[in-house]
């Protein structure tokens, strides 16, 4: 197991290296000059030259990349062209907002998706199953940002129950934080919840039709005991996969939803960095998102070994 984890961490490092090369290359091939954009109307050829030299942008790309990589390995992701602040700090600053939204959205998704999926599968063909399946179809089809806009229109602008956008630190105002969190968490969580619902339903249905379930019933176990002791332990395996993917996606920051709700998370940071051609910030955010995905994937793989005795990593 330890060997497996070490190997996987090695692979993760390689994957991150690949990600950094691709992001670095893409950014530099896309037209747009970060320094010119940063200067905007205050453009002055001398200042421009000085800034370009200060950021090392006059050097060949390969040199720029390795110099960035060298500092990145020491935790220094460079400074923003736009604000001059260290990128590492900017990313860390956005982390609480993104983690909060990801956690809340996942909670919504799990609370909605898992129990409904299990019940729908157990009562497949029932009215509840039809309704839940139809609603989840809508859930996976409607884009989260559109749902977000509808929530703002309904709950904020029409009913006035909740604030339309913004973020308050829970340390400053806990209730305010909660009130700001509800709508974006619902917008994202209901989409993830619909996806999770569909996976849970099909995983449980699949497990329910296995011979060992019939065997367990033939031994005299009650339906309930069979569900909890035989069906669900098998269904968790595919469920963990999809929940892991959803969590990876949420931790990466839900870009458009963060923008609609003016939520100061990683997604919004990356989005603004694209507009500003703020290479270093974009590079840093993408690196963070990729790391999150890889870590979640590793955790999911380790969970497999825990859930399924047939999986052994040695």
């Amino acid at each position: 197991m330890t060997g497996f984890v070490v190997r996987r961490i090695g692979q993760m490092a390689l994957a991150l290296l690949g990600v950094s090369v691709i992001v670095f290359a893409l950014i530099h091939f896309v037209p747009g000059d970060p320094v010119r954009t940063a200067l905007g109307t205050r453009f002055d050829p001398d200042v421009y030259e000085a800034l370009v030299r200060r950021h090392g942008l006059d050097r060949p790309l390969v040199i720029q990349y390795f110099s960035w990589l060298g500092s990145a390995l020491q935790g220094d992701l460079g400074v923003s062209f736009r604000s001059g602040q260290p990128v590492t700090g900017l990313v860390l600053e956005r982390l609480p907002a993104t983690l909060t939204l990801a956690g809340a959205a996942l909670a919504v998704a799990l609370v909605v998706g898992v129990p409904l999926g299990v019940v729908s599968a157990v009562r497949s063909g029932s009215k509840l199953d039809y309704i839940a399946s139809a609603v989840s179809q809508v859930g996976v089809s409607v884009p989260d940002f559109w749902a977000g806009i509808m929530y703002i229109l309904l709950f904020s602008l029409t009913l006035g129950w909740l604030p339309p956008s913004g973020y308050v630190s829970p340390l400053v105002d806990f209730t305010g934080w909660l009130r700001h969190l509800v709508l974006p968490a619902l917008a994202v969580g209901l989409v993830s919840g619909s996806i999770i619902f569909r996976f849970v339903r099909s995983a449980v249905l699949e497990a329910l039709n296995q011979d060992y379930v019939r065997m367990a019933r033939a031994k005299g176990l009650s339906r309930r005991a069979v569900l909890f002791d035989h069906v669900l332990p098998n269904a968790w395996i595919p469920i963990v996969t999809v929940v892991g993917l959803q969590l990876g996606f949420l931790l990466g920051g839900v870009v458009v939803v963060e923008i609609i709700f003016a939520w100061p998370g990683i997604g919004r940071l990356a989005y603004l960095a694209v507009g500003d051609r703020d290479f270093t910030v974009l590079q840093g955010s993408v690196l963070y998102i990729a790391t999150m995905f890889l870590v979640i994937n590793l955790v999911v793989d380790l969970l497999y070994a825990w859930l399924d005795p047939r999986v052994r990593y040695d």
Partner: protein, 326 residues
């Protein structure tokens, strides 16, 4: 015959489908004596598995509709409520299934799965349940059971897994063991060994056995009596020796003719022409009439009764065997 352990009377199973009702088991009746081995033989789709699942109330209803009676200890199994049924399943009547590869839960240990019926029905817990489980594994011939009890199914071979399944079946010393194609998925040598084990256990525990199979070779080896099912109907029922000697029913004749005979290599195996009827559109008259080489006018007009021209030998045919000429 002595008082039967199980009396099945007019058992019918109908599946409600979108295209209409499909009657897959049609008024079958049989008795199972104490310590007796009854083989239920038939092709796939003849209703042999469905009829046994119906006895255990293990068919999903709906879509299945089960009618008739199955009297076990004076009570009708088909109308018992779920808690009563749970006390019988695995305890008084146990059932083991076709595929040892899929009958065991891959994420639970052998011991866990084997101890379930022991804890549930015998009330043993902890160490006592575990010891009983180890004892059962020894009984079905699993070496070093003490260590292997904590293994998972994937660590066992197919034959070993089927032994585990059998151990589960006999764990509470049931009155009846229903073995649904229990050895079909195994290779011939393992099959023979497992059959021997089950027969030995049957003698030791005095249980009755319902052996569901499509394999007439196995039938000859294990059964006392045979029920031949075709399209949900009992076509013939007889003592195993009578069945192989007399072959009253044209369907049974067809089945036996399709068996290979050792030593006779030149003969082409005879297949029964045609296919079993679609349960949504059963033929009028005798269910076998569309494929029967001896078919006569009366066969397409009237469904024959299950007659008993010789005591203990029933056949669903308008004719006596000596009158049958192709």
């Amino acid at each position: 015959m002595t008082q039967p352990v199980l009396s099945v009377r007019d058992l019918s199973v109908t599946f409600r489908t979108r295209e209409g009702p499909a009657k897959v088991v049609d008024r079958i009746s049989y008795d199972l004596g104490p310590g007796e081995t009854l083989a239920i033989v038939g092709e796939s789709g003849s209703g042999k598995s469905v009829s046994s699942l119906a006895l255990m109330q293990l068919l999903p209803t709906p879509p299945a509709v089960v009618e008739g009676e199955a009297i076990f200890e004076g009570r009708n199994l088909l109308t018992l409520d779920e808690p009563e049924m749970q006390k019988i399943r695995g305890n008084r009547i146990a059932m083991i299934f076709q595929d040892p590869m899929t009958s065991l839960n891959p994420v639970r240990t052998i011991g866990h799965q084997l101890m379930e019926p022991i804890e549930l029905h015998l009330g043993l817990t902890g160490r006592a349940a575990r010891e009983r489980a180890i004892e059962l594994l020894h009984l079905v011939g699993i070496p070093s059971a003490e260590e292997r009890i904590d293994d998972y199914p994937h660590q066992f071979s197919g034959g070993m897994r089927q032994r585990v399944v059998i151990a589960m079946g006999i764990s509470c010393e049931p009155d009846i063991l229903i073995a649904d194609e229990a050895t079909t998925a195994l290779d011939v040598t393992t099959q023979a060994k497992i059959i021997d084990e089950i027969k030995g256990l049957q003698e030791r525990l005095g249980m009755s056995l319902i052996w569901i199979t499509h394999d007439l070779g196995v039938v000859a080896g294990v059964a006392d009596r045979v029920v031949v099912l075709y399209a949900g109907h009992i076509m013939e029922e007889a003592d195993v020796d009578d069945l192989f000697r007399v072959r009253r029913n044209p369907y049974t004749r067809g089945l036996l003719a399709s068996l290979p005979v050792p030593g006779r290599t030149s003969r082409r195996l005879e297949a029964i022409p045609g296919l079993p009827p679609d349960p949504l559109r059963p033929p009028r008259g005798c269910p076998f009439s569309p494929r029967c080489p001896y078919v006569a006018d009366v066969c397409v007009r009237e469904e024959p009764a299950l007659r008993e021209p010789v005591p203990g030998h029933r056949s669903k045919c308008h004719f006596d065997p000596e009158d049958l000429h192709a």
